[in-house]
Symmetry: C2
Subunit: 740 residues, 2 copies
């Protein structure tokens, strides 16, 4: 037996050795355990050094600002450590720091900087005071039961209740809005109310201040009256009014990501402490829908679609999005594809939601995150247009094509003038770009990290987007006050067949007396390596006009089929509406009624084919004129220009094809395959286009322009041939052997 | 016992299950086994389809070209499969295909295209015929002993000996050069000679054709006389003349990678079949040195330094480099750091070298590849200047800073006019770029994939580089015939201290009557997050001139401390020497005697500080003027211009600092820390500079300009203080508490 046992042990030892050989070494702790360990290292180091609670005096970036900011996150982390380890050192630490704040706070006037419409006490703006209170409420909650009664009382009375009053009744222009600032304010007041079991505060947070308590002429930083058009404020009205019924957020995913934090923190706390309110089911589960809307508004690399004022590069995999994924999984149905996002995030929240996600990942429950197409409505009632995210997957498993089509309302102060614009992405990221905002967030060198003036003069303008510009003037003259009165309308959508998906929308107010109607398809067919992106844009009006349709392709042009004259002296293309920022590198005349533009980007080839009229011009443009601080990226673009018509129809087909890398220098499939793109019919009632593959196969797409009823039948005669179909659109594929 | 055994088995089963749980699933085959399996799948598929041996007629990219090209690699792969699996199907396949070639070949005239100085038979150029023969020699060797005597005889006489004669005696302008084309020719002729045991061919390959057999006026495609200046040809003279004694290749690493294949294939075959020649030790192991030179000429991401005509993005991890790494490990000393490269390449060659590498990797012998600084000499005798690659590693383990300083000879037809130029890289790739070549290799849309005219008008010109341009004219007027007569000289180098490394070189012929002397340091100090790159460039001459020192930074400018006027009308900066391709976006005047230029690239911040004279100008330029086909990248640059002086000294210090990502929007350390950069002494004998950290710490660097003898002592009085040191340069650091 001894020998046998010895062998037994040796074999086990060998197997263990094989399991843990250096080449395969891997942290076998769960995501939760790893995050807990990292947090402990971080908090222990800070506790060792000691924290400071300085008298506030600095702007963002300055010492006192950064110190108080660090404190909120250290306290919050220490609370989680106390909860999950039971180590009383963390509770003691939190208590001691809170008593320092309790000593300081009553002595504070408003912050000396006086630079905000709602100046805070700890920080230059109330927003940061509210951030502080939201996070510290978590910490306070974690130790509340551990604290002696008299210490709680002291902290409640000296620190927290005064702070909650300061952020609400003493600063109504901050608290009583339908705006993400006020979401933070309500969450802060409500969460501390829940901790202290202070019903008055909780009610104030849920329902806002009584209107009769507000001064009549009080205004917020956007000049909005605090007694505003909604006549309502507080957390519940914000849940009603901040999102569309689908969870879409008017400013887009970049701001949704930011605004979602206080919604979720307070929502989760209410769920725990006021279960009778059933907040998670409020408005048919609007918080879950908002999380869902957030994770669906990212390209295949995880970057959020940079519509409106968005900082490009903000991602599903940002730390800030961790809690949204965790809550989404934990509170709303345990969708196993969210676990894949959590794995890529590489961490979880230190709470029950994070623990659930971590356990499920460890149990191998993750499933691929492979979203399908979705149509979001905009407006609190869901009746102000929307945004479509249309996805198709290529022949190769990991290839994806996605376009975002924007027919949403203006999106408030952060909205851009790009009605019926789109952007296009593949598994490597942007292909046809939305510029995003002109801003380097928090980069002091660039205007202190705030929005740059080029955000207004360029990024918001129509020509900065893949949207139709009429008479070199932005939609609604680039004026929000005009734009916010109107929205485009979804005309038709059909995403039932993943190989042939349509979204079609109209905008009739961007230019007086002019209608625009754009229909876009993703068409997947074995004849092409990747799905085709097809656009039909019709405009009609009473007056003759000049039309510019920009294509903000990413990458480097390889060739086009135009006659181009390059400009050896470059002047800005215009003086306003964004044209002042554009150079024309070349002026081109398309040949043969068909523009073909072929480029390379990020290892792949692209070819866009468009129908042209004899007088059309093509401008090859470059961003960067009138940019004294060099704030703008030198993006290339193509402008398809048609002059002197009252009506115009632009059609184009974009192919993604082939691959190339300098590592092997072997180009695969560098040329497009589409020929003979034609507008076969174009009337107020019907538009039809056809194109061929080089092998002779032909596709024809027909759309009814005025009746989108799926049950209606259409009959159309084109070149002597009759076409009959039911529903808004119709695809006819003719194989080359049939056509010959 | 039964129960115990049962438990025993369960435990083992559990352990195995733990080892192979889905989350950790991994291919446990060795690299060699994986490559063998992939090759088998590929070759089997082709054998199933059958191969074609068409009558040659097409250019590169055409059907017959691509088919014969695919055949060489299929045959070579099939030979490896026969060797390693013993499966006779592969031998039979090779034999059958060879007999098809043996039937076709005798019927072939030269290729009908007639577009090359050395038209081939199977291909449009002999070079590809030689490629074919090199690879097929491998396959033929693999089955030679298996073939019946009479079949060998038939193949030898009908196919291989005629092909070898065709590529040598019948095409001496191709065979008898010191050029990579001839390396392929000699390898082809010699390798097939070794297979057939044909000493005449082997000798011809080693020593070239007898000079007396060559026509007097025969010229190659560069107009070189075949009876050329060396009076020698063949493989051995090529080993003598193609490399410097360090293994440096005059055209740079991009071409070395290409040229190395035939050297290594033939070298390895000679080592096996003519061991008495001791080829691996020839010229002190020059083949090993060339491999070493190749792997050391890459940035920390693995991309080769794009000096001279280089296609940017060619990498250590390209398939083509696999055999170099394998041979380097197998034939030259089993350097375990090469195994790390092999792991990243993810494959090995299907030969003894690849097997050795694969086994060593599997045995866990790989060690980190973390090269140190190296000084390469140029010229066959090592006396024509050189190239320095200076590396330092940052505080964080995976951070690296590398600069390449170029004081090499012209580099033949592929050389650029950038004497005393440099480029700079970090662990994320390029920071200060060398443009590389203006060419999209094999991309038909871009000039058929050949060198573009902008390669001459832009990429080769001095202003395209980080090198001094005098009077807006390239070095040697941009004429190779002038440039190839001269080379810069290394003045001094000191890489003994990894924290303070110097390379200094002179160039006195690029402009008549003008001397240039540039000294560059990497200085690593705990006060800075990353090593500083320091440059001192002195020029003196008899005539007053205009000096332009370009900085081809990558990324986006954040700010500078100049007064800038942007140009609302842009015209090209000049009419030739590359200036015709530059726009000036802004003209700036530096303030306060010191230019500070701060930019962001690839997640990191950079600040360059330079000393300026009161009359200096700074041009913020953008590449892309006079570029009708849009062949050039729209790179940004900065030109520091000084007019109307006979002598000038430019000094600069580049800091790498901080980090930023839009995923968290938190900038770390976005501003540089250097202040008070000064030229403290500048005479023909000595130059000295000093600069401070904001904390008051001061560094002073002194260099002797005329005596680099490490044993010589120097005494220098600066501002009343005496400095004494030994050797060419001296660093004095004064801590802030000392200086106060």
């Amino acid at each position: 037996m001894i020998i046998r046992n010895h062998i037994f042990i040796c074999i086990i030892a060998l197997l263990f050795a094989a399991c843990t050989s250096p080449a395969e070494e891997k942290n076998t702790d769960t995501l939760f355990e790893q995050e807990l360990a990292r947090t402990q290292v971080r908090v222990d180091a800070i506790m060792e050094q000691g924290v400071n609670v300085p008298v506030p005096k600095d702007m963002a970036g300055g010492y006192t600002h950064e110190e108080h900011k660090r404190n909120w996150s250290t306290l919050c982390d220490a609370g989680a450590l106390f909860t999950h380890t039971g180590d009383k050192r963390y509770a003691t630490f939190i208590r001691d720091v809170l008593f320092e704040y309790a000593e300081l706070y009553p002595t504070l006037p408003r912050h000396p900087t006086n630079r905000s419409y709602a100046t805070g006490k700890l920080f230059w703006q109330c927003l940061n005071d509210a951030n502080w209170l939201v996070y510290v409420s978590h910490a306070y909650d974690d130790i509340y039961d551990w604290l002696p009664e008299e210490e709680r009382k002291q902290l409640n009375e000296q620190l927290f209740r005064p702070m909650a009053d300061f952020l609400s009744v003493e600063t109504p222009q901050f608290f009583n809005r339908i705006h993400n600032h006020s979401t933070w304010a309500c969450a802060a007041v409500g969460m501390i109310g829940l901790v202290m079991d202070d019903d008055e505060l909780v009610d104030r947070a849920l329902n806002g201040l009584p209107p009769e308590s507000l001064p009549d002429d009080l205004r917020d930083n956007d000049s909005g009256l605090i007694k505003d058009k909604y006549g309502r404020a507080g957390f519940l009205p914000q849940l009603d009014l901040s999102f569309s019924p689908d969870g879409y957020f008017a400013e887009g995913p970049y701001y949704l990501r930011y605004a979602l934090s206080p919604f979720l923190f307070f929502g989760e706390a209410l769920d725990e402490k006021r279960p009778g309110l059933n907040i998670l089911e409020y408005r048919d589960g609007i918080l879950g829908k908002a999380i869902n809307a957030l994770v669906l508004q990212a390209d295949p690399t995880g970057d959020f679609f940079p519509i409106n004022d968005s900082h490009k590069g903000m991602s599903l995999y940002s730390d800030e999005v961790v809690k949204s994924v965790d809550y989404g999984y934990y509170l709303y149905g345990n969708d196993p594809s969210l676990l894949t996002l959590a794995e890529k995030q590489g961490t979880v929240s230190l709470n029950a939601a994070g623990k659930a996600v971590s356990d499920a990942v460890a149990a191998g429950k993750a499933e691929p995150f492979r979203p399908t197409s979705v149509l979001f409505t905009d407006g609190a009632d869901g009746k102000e247009g929307g945004v479509a995210v249309i996805r198709a997957y290529g022949a190769e498993e990991d290839h994806a094509s996605v376009f975002l089509f924007k027919y949403a309302a203006q999106g408030m102060g952060h909205g851009h003038f790009d009605r019926l614009g789109y952007s296009f992405y593949n598994e490597r990221g942007e292909v046809i770009q939305d510029y995003g905002s002109a801003r380097w967030v928090n980069i002091d060198q660039k205007g202190g990290g705030r929005y740059l003036k080029e955000n207004n003069t360029w990024a918001k303008q129509t020509v900065a987007h893949n949207a139709l510009v009429v008479n070199q003037t932005s939609h609604f003259d680039g004026e929000i006050s005009k734009a916010e009165n109107f929205h485009p309308n979804l005309y038709a959508a059909d995403i039932s067949n993943p190989d042939f998906q349509l979204v079609s929308a109209t905008e009739n107010n961007a230019y007086p007396g002019r209608e625009m109607h754009r229909s876009m398809w993703l068409l997947k067919d074995d004849a092409f390596q990747e799905p085709l992106l097809i656009s039909v844009l019709r405009t009609s009006g009473s007056a003759s006009a000049s039309f510019d349709l920009p294509l903000w392709y990413k990458g480097q042009m390889l060739e086009n089929n135009c006659d181009c004259e390059i400009n050896n002296v470059m002047k800005p293309l215009g003086t306003n509406h964004g044209y002042q920022h554009l150079w024309a590198e070349a002026n081109c005349k398309p040949k043969e009624g068909q523009l073909q533009f072929n480029w390379f980007h990020n290892g792949r080839f692209f070819t866009q084919t468009s129908v042209t009229d004899a007088e059309d011009e093509v401008l090859l443009v470059r961003l960067g004129a009138n940019d004294p601080e060099m704030n703008l990226r030198r993006a290339p673009g193509l402008i398809h220009r048609r002059n002197g018509r009252a009506n115009a129809t632009f059609i184009s087909v974009l192919e993604t094809h082939g691959s190339y890398t300098p590592r092997n220098e072997i180009p695969h499939d560098p040329y497009g395959h589409i020929t003979d793109l034609n507008l076969v019919v174009d009337s107020p009632e019907y538009t039809g286009l056809s194109f061929n593959h080089q092998d002779g196969t032909q596709w024809m797409i027909l759309i009814s322009n005025q009746n989108a009823d799926p049950s209606v039948s259409h009959n159309l005669n084109i070149n002597g041939r009759a076409y009959n179909w039911q529903g808004v659109h119709h695809l006819i594929k003719t194989n080359n052997n049939e056509s010959k």
